[in-house]
């Protein structure tokens, strides 16, 4: 008789498996999960929760990613098996095929607006910082836009690398420095040399003679035009004076 009761008591001494509490907290939405994914950019650490992808970084190790996440995002983080389909969604997002959900809680409304606007820049194109500022209704806040983009918690996925200075300087990049930014843009098909040659000559906009529309030089609109039909402008007033209107796709200036 005592042996059965003694055995049962031992059954009560069993410990929960390692990481159990963290998994529960993640399921309750109180912790984010993360895993490392092999992508076109190499291994990228990605964190997610039930609202969507919450952070990404090309960290060297789990420890480095966890530390960065703790300092930058401030929530709990648990290494986990990714849900089915996340790997392919990540690939699609990086190739511009599909949009994924992001969790931008914890960022200021201004930063959120900047990042949401950045998501609208198509792959293979770039925009100046001032464009974001104008589009989100804070035309004077160009520097603040730069700060918000530099602190983008989800680089690569939210394409802050597609925002560059209007003088053609590539600018700094939170996702791995200016070199990484150049590499990613080249990977996406941006002709950096052409872009920088134009910027150095002070030419910001590109117009097409046949349509009388002017665009940012990377805009896909008018891509089919013949080379001899391109004209270039230093600024908006020059383009308008020549009888050109701003493109409705890349919106280089407010449509009058």
């Amino acid at each position: 008789m005592p042996t059965v009761m003694f055995d049962l008591k031992r059954l009560g001494d069993v410990k929960a498996p390692p990481g159990f509490a963290e998994r529960v907290l993640a399921q309750a939405g109180m912790a984010d999960s993360y895993a490392v994914f092999e992508t076109v950019l190499g291994p990228v650490y990605v964190a997610w929760n039930r609202l969507g992808v919450s952070a990404a970084m090309r960290s060297k190790s789990s420890a480095e990613f966890e530390q960065w996440f703790r300092e930058d995002i401030g929530r709990r983080l648990v290494q986990a098996d990714p849900p089915a389909g996340l790997a392919s969604r990540i690939e699609d997002q990086l190739q511009g095929k599909r949009r994924m959900q992001f969790d931008l809680r914890g960022l200021t409304p201004f930063s959120q607006a900047v990042l949401r606007k950045t998501l609208e820049i198509p792959r293979g194109q770039v925009r100046p910082y001032g464009w974001i500022a104008r589009e989100i209704g804070h035309p004077a806040a160009v520097r603040a836009v730069g700060t918000a983009l530099a602190n983008n918690p989800i680089p690569y996925f939210i394409p802050c690398h597609r925002v560059i200075r209007s003088d053609g300087v590539i600018g700094n990049y939170g996702g791995g420095g200016p070199e990484a930014k150049k590499n990613i843009l080249t990977l996406e098909g941006v002709q950096l040399k052409r872009l920088q040659d134009l910027a150095r000559a002070g030419l910001r906009y590109e117009g097409v003679r046949s349509t009388r529309v002017f665009c940012f030089p990377t805009c896909y609109h008018g891509r089919a035009a013949r080379q001899e039909n391109f004209v270039f402008f230093h600024d908006e007033s020059e383009a308008r004076a020549a009888g050109y209107r701003p493109c409705k796709h890349c919106r280089p200036a407010e449509v009058a």
Partner: protein
């Protein structure tokens, strides 16, 4: 909200071993035990966020969690029947803590599987009383049964575990 989250994290850390052990004894394998324990805490969380702070503070956590866990197991059995393969033996599990050596783990799992084979009403009573070591009054509370019923079920359950004849005990 912030307060509830901190209270919940404490709740999980304080009771995870106890509730996992309960799941193991009631289901007979570690895989289902983890599912039961996770479900239990998630249900607890969903309830906690609706409670007023005083109610959270005055909660008898242990009894409350046991009650939830028993209901989770009851609902599972109703929904998806446990797979027989798992009831018969111990599953290999990579997530075993270093504190449990292989021999001991195998013994424990075998015992858990035996307990899980008891009829539900005996199993619940025996597990809460002798694995979780609740008082008869607490067991009665958690199961929503009179103390006398619980005592009788514990007695019969132990008899079955010892391999004594079931019919004998009922006479």
């Amino acid at each position: 909200m912030e307060v509830t989250e901190r209270a919940f994290e404490r709740l999980v850390r304080d009771h995870q071993d106890r509730i996992f052990a309960l799941g193991l004894a009631l289901t007979g394998n570690r895989h289902d035990a983890e599912e039961v324990a996770q479900d239990t805490f998630l249900r607890a969380y969903r309830a906690l966020v609706t409670y007023a702070p005083e109610r959270v503070r005055d909660l008898k956590q242990k009894a409350w969690l046991h009650q939830i866990a028993v209901n989770v197991v009851r609902n599972r059995v109703r929904g998806n029947r446990p797979r027989l393969v798992e009831l018969n033996g111990s599953e290999p599990d990579a997530r075993t803590g270093p504190e449990e050596d292989v021999m001991r783990k195998a013994e424990i799992d075998e015992l858990a599987a035996r307990v899980a084979c008891l009829p539900p009403r005996y199993r619940e009573a025996v597990v809460l009383r002798h694995v979780q070591e609740l008082s008869y009054a607490e067991v009665a509370d958690a199961l929503g049964q009179p103390v006398g019923t619980v005592k009788a079920n514990v007695h019969r359950g132990l008899k079955l575990l010892r391999g004594e004849d079931h019919a004998d005990g009922d006479v």
